[in-house]
């Protein structure tokens, strides 16, 4: 029986959606029926936050109580290290995030475990765990194995795995670690100004525009339409490159993976491999394109061979 440990990430009383992606990744590592997926949540409010973690595929939630209300890398490091010693997992999955990078390396080095960051694929090769990550500034993909290590700590790239969707009622265990203390103490939390734009990786309904849009004034027509139907307007790379929509709205390899999206309406997007890398997992894709041979139709559930402006006008007329 193998154990896989997932460490949940939370912020301001809410579990971050990336945690659900880690659960899917952990499920893929299960090779036998009795393999177990443990989901640890660390912090002062760990027990109450555990109610947000009732997901299928998790065998046990470990509410690891510490005495800090905020995330502190040293406490997280000590708590995760203690869990590895007591539960003996073969793999520890953390989000590839600023939080995790603050302590994952220390956990791996101090414990002498295998370590890989920014992992986007997990598999077994002849019984040995193999993680795939980018290399040489993403020029190549690198497969990493962990010979001689009983446990591998891995940070998982956001959007690489589909978030788990089914709820369940896993066993809850409380692990009191309030005795842990950090050598440093945060004095103040300063809010970043930031762009303040919507996070497209968390929205469920997206209308996306591509090269077929033609000119900037047309972008505004589609923004208006998206507003009217409560969709989030996103785009392919050329639109963001032209400055017509923010970079934060770009879907694809050089943009974002819309991991939470359930309905994706692609308007005038031909469907390059780079764009599809960010949205092909979406369960319902509606594609509108004048070219019946456009690649987007190969992954679309519903395809409309039509002029996007006709469709936009008609929808606006219906809404008016």
């Amino acid at each position: 029986m193998n154990t896989i440990l997932v460490v949940a990430e939370h912020r301001r009383g809410e579990v971050r959606p990336v945690t659900l992606e880690l659960i899917t990744a952990a499920q893929q590592l299960k090779t036998a029926a009795d393999d177990r997926v443990l989901l640890a949540i660390i912090g002062q409010e760990a027990e109450s936050l555990a109610s947000q973690l009732q997901w299928a595929g998790v065998d046990e939630i470990i509410a690891c109580k510490t005495n800090s209300a905020e995330f502190e890398p040293e406490l997280a490091e000590q708590a995760v290290s203690a869990l590895i010693v007591s539960r003996k997992p073969i793999a520890v999955l953390l989000p590839h995030s600023v939080d995790s990078l603050g302590y994952a390396t220390a956990v791996a080095v101090k414990g002498g475990y295998g370590y890989a960051t920014d992992v986007f694929k997990l598999a077994y090769d002849g019984g040995a765990l193999v993680a795939t990550r980018g290399g040489y500034n993403q020029k190549v993909n690198v497969e990493v194995d962990f010979p001689g290590h009983a446990c591998a700590v891995m940070t998982i790239r956001g959007g690489a795995f589909k978030p788990v969707e089914t709820v369940a009622a896993p066993l809850l265990t409380v692990d009191d670690r309030s005795e842990l203390s950090a050598r440093s103490r945060p004095l103040e939390f300063i809010e970043q100004g930031g762009g303040g734009d919507i996070d497209i990786t968390t929205v469920e309904f997206i209308m996306s525009i591509g090269r077929g849009i033609g000119e900037e004034a047309n972008v505004e027509d589609f923004r208006e339409l998206a507003d009217n139907i409560d969709a989030t307007l996103c785009c392919s790379r050329p639109i963001a490159d032209a400055g017509w929509l923010p970079k934060s709205r770009q879907v694809g390899q050089s943009g974002k993976v819309v991991s939470a999206c359930k309905l994706y309406v692609a308007m005038g997007i031909s469907g390059s491999i780079q764009h599809m890398a960010g949205m092909k997992h979406v369960s319902t894709i509606v594609a509108v394109n004048t070219d019946p041979g456009a690649s987007i139709f190969t992954i679309a559930k519903y395809g409309i061979v039509a002029d996007i402006f006709e469709i936009q006008e008609e929808l606006q007329a219906q809404l008016a």
Partner: protein, 477 residues
Amino acid sequence: MSPQRFLSKSESQVPMTAQALVAHVLESGDFYAAVAVHGIADARQRQRLEERLFGSRRDVLMLARWEHTPANVLDALSRLEHMPLARRVVKHRNTGGSTLKHQFSQSDDPALTGLLALHANTPAPLLLQIAMGDHDQVVLKGLARNPSAQPEVLRLLAQRFPRRFDKEIASHAAVPVDLLATLYHRGDKFVRAAVLAHKHVPEALLLQAAKSTETLILRALVKHPQLPAALVDTLSQHKDNAIRAALATRADLPVHLTARLALDESDSVRRAVACRADLAPTLMQMLAEDHDPWVRQWLGRNPMAGKHVLQKLALDIHEDVRRAVARNPNCPITLLEKLASDHRSWVRAAVAYQPNVTSCLMASLARDSAVDVLSGVAANPHTAPALLKRLVFSEELDVRRGVILNPAAGPEILLPLLQDPYYLHRVMLASSPKLSDQDKWQLRDDPDARVRFALFQWLAARALRPVADRYFYRRKA
């Protein structure tokens, strides 16, 4: 000391002729470079390239579906006897007319006929042949939608199957005018609306349609430039919001109707009014106070909006309205300077993309930390070369790409980007006319196949012209 590799002259210089380029590819054995140069190879070299390209079943299948596979390789694929690939080849958008014709003559597969009916490169006689002989409704529907279908094809379909494909035929750009009238008279309201939306609709039909009370018909009618004047006034009071909104976009709308529609209860109508180029200053002032942010936004983008209106909108609570002002081609520089320090980066980004920004303002925007703003500075042709040289080394790949997209960025700025870690940037530079072939030649061993393909495609296109010229010259002699 780092290891050095000494290049022989033949290795370090770009092959200048098609034959030398193909010879280099054959020597290197690079699969993707072989795809790129296949079109410029002579018969003997082509045979050797095909041995490399079609050596394994996996490669052949990949080539048949790869979006960049050129027409000449697809043609060669379609002639492979040991591996039937007809459907894949016919489905590919790059497949040329002669290949499609060859496939049609070689096969009696009904699915293949359906794909041929849809393909934009299918030759006109072949489309006509399908229209004459085929009975499959799906195939014929695809044919009626094919933008390459000739008027004879559409006429034949309308004759063979009256009413069956009338909607598709009425929407086709090549439909003959007399056929439009036939379709209108025998069609339902959907067909009639499609006929009225056609840019070649006869005026007589417009007059007939003007008597209709059907909303769908009137929506199509109201967009037509030849709309009878008498109908304009009537339609301005129509209960359907979409009809009034479409009316508000008409260039020939009388002034009194513009004023009436500016007070319309429907947001969509007032939004359309806000885009008009002929708005009186009083109407603009009124619309600048509109409760709907989209009305104010469209007004902010209106190139005819006056300075005072823009000043008011530049203080709007909605960032999209302020951004609209910053994107307005006639936004005064004083307003742009104010908007350049807006607290929202998306507004500042709009200023960064403005072509009429001063170099001083651009320098201040280059100190911004937001990626959208810096991308705008990088892509703006008015950005000083010294700033661009700095942005080439930005950690943000979007900013570096902005420099590549900047039409004013010269080779001395772009050269370091040939080493960019993001493959797409190297692909873009491999096809850039700004860099010399000699500079680009360093990409020949790039780890990314797409970069190598782009480079050899560029070099093959360059080599093609001398070959064609020589051929023409010899034939003439």
